[in-house]
Amino acid sequence: MLGTVYAILFYVATLILLIGVVRKIRIYARVPAPLKIPTTPAPKTRGGVVLRVFREVVFFESLYKSNKWIWLFGWVFHMALWLVLARHLRYFTQPVWGWVEIVQPFGTYAGFAMLAGLAGLWARRILVERIRYISNPSDHLMLALLMGIGASGAMTRFVAHTDIVAVKAYMLGLMRFRVGDLPADPTLLVHLGLVIVLMIVFPISKLLHAPGVFFSPSRNQVDNPREVRHVAPWAAKMEN
């Protein structure tokens, strides 16, 4: 019963996540950028732009220039998030990939780093008057959601130990469209429930920044407007 309810939720959430994000990416890719608007100084070559976007995505370069505290908390949170996600791959693969084995020990403790980063961001959101002013309820809820996922996840491991072998069998089954039994462990159910909520809100929330950052014209355009004409299809129609 429990296994079936969560299976349905997982399938629905996965569909919403995939369709929602793919739809948004298609819109971002299709809508033209009518003018060259890179924030200069900007790279003059494609390769340079790839490097620029790489530095933004991996190091949060502009954020570093902007505000060291937000950078510190934000960067720690995101990098820890990736480690945690990588570690979770072990529940979806059999045999477990070699590199996942390697990050495993780091991934376990990255969970705490992630919580610390999120706590720092939340503290700023509450304590810094300017950031409090620009926050909506959804901004606080997003942090609550992620902290809830992180905290419940850590509890399944360090407090109320979950039968992780059974969870893995359940997940591997779901991937092959076979619905098995899920341990009726409250912390685990909360953890998985919150992940499902995250998957559903992803394509309708500010989490779109993850795909969106690659489409920001001020960061992804080559600074060569004098050399290359850049005419949007709708603007080309004016020319004749």
Binding site: I27, Y28, V31, P32, A33, P34, L35, K36, I37, T39, T40, P41, A42, K44, G48, E56, F60, S62, L63, K65, S66, N67, I70, G74, L121, R124, R125, V128, R130, I131, Y133, I134, S135, N136, P137, S138, L141, I204, S205, K206, L208, H209, G212, V213, F215, S216, P217, S218, R219, D223, P225, R226, V228, R229, H230, V231, A232, W234, A235, M238
Partner: protein, 508 residues
Amino acid sequence: MADGDTQVPELAFPLDIPCLKRGAMEGTKPFVAQAEHQAKLGFPGALVPDWKDKALAKMQELAEKNRAFQVYLDICVKCGACTDKCHYFLGTGDPKNMPVARQDLLRSVYRRYFTFAGKHFPWLVGARDLTEDVLNEWYSYYHQCSECRRCSVFCPYGIDTAEITMAAREILDSVGVGQKYSNEIIGKVKDIGNNLGLNPKALRATLEDLEEDIEDDTGVSVRLPLDEKGADILLVTPSADFFAEPHIEGLIGYAKVFHEAGVSWTLSSYASEAANFGLFIGSYENMREISLRIRKAAQDLGVKRIIFGECGHAWRVAYSFLNTLAGPWDFLDQSYPVPQHILEFTWDEIQKGTLNLDPSRNDHIRLTYHDSCNVARASGMGDYPGGQFEIPRNVIRAVCNNFFDMEPDTIREATLCCGGGGGLLTDDLMDLRIKGSAPRMKALQNVTEEHGVTHMAAICAICKTQFGKVMPKYGYEMDAILSVHQLVSNAIILTGQDGEDEDEAEDA
């Protein structure tokens, strides 16, 4: 608005973050355009009856035509990194002048009508209905943004509030609520060819007067040609260069450089304006129409090259957009960039050694340099990233012995706006202009204290005009603002000019 009542902000240091003063700038708004101004640009003359539907339709159209609009409205995470980056926030403390809060004025409406979360859970994501109050709020705060892009530099996704401001102004124009200052000026360019409404006869007379002045000054005859067919170079310069100080000294500088370089050049009475206020109101169509005047002038005069004079936003439109809006430029000489900046030209000539320069003629000046936003963050110079910072400084160092930069976090890509850009250089916004210039002025005061700086140079007509007005409020003479080519003009010794006998080069 009487600027007498403006409280000149006292900042402890240039980037001093104020406490929030809610509603501090609420009443501030520029004069609204009249029907006649609107008509010339193809906009309705007054608020249309079905304005709400029209505005939402325009918003939808922008989301489909402009990737920046769509992506920027979606992806802001409200991290707050941009909140202390806007000079208008630093100068006024009004939280709606924080870049993300400025975006939110429009984002809240976009969310309400175009996103799932905003349609069904408006209270959760700060979505709100479009009402007449919202429209008024847009008119006020989207005319408190100079489209300077400082926020874009510091946002982790490069979200550029200037793009949102332009979109908002476009929406406002489309429902009949335009800004008088910008729209009236665009109309003048369409009618007469320049922002000032200076007709060809008056322009010719002005140029002849200038030729006489130069000859009186130097004993050398230097020409300022107008509408000369077959000249090699078309110079397009902001019309302020024809009549106001210190702009006009810059124009004299260009003429001297061309003279010494031995090139043939001309101005055009048809395209007698580098400025393109179509940018400020976010109107691709108007920006294109104004740009096409330059194309026509270049073709009619049969020139081989186009060079732009000192103007910030004009250089953005020229460098970043001209090829797109009015190209291809295949009929021009391809061995030079199209278009070129006058500083690129002058720096080339300095390197070639064609100019006889005596920097000691500027020894009465202790100088700093203001990077103009649109040059710094929206365009380039030379063939490497950052040329727009180096080339002006290279030229300055070649003509002036006492040069001192302001603090690093207030120059180059982090430069602070003069406070008057983006269509705000109008007397009805004087209070905002004085407050918005406070961070820049504080940085200037700091180099004055540290290095005894007396003058500041700029390469933007708007910056020069704005500084001429606001510097007196901060304890400087109004002529403490200089054109870069004015310094060149001071230092240059023309062939045949008796360098030693000249009296002290005048300082403005």
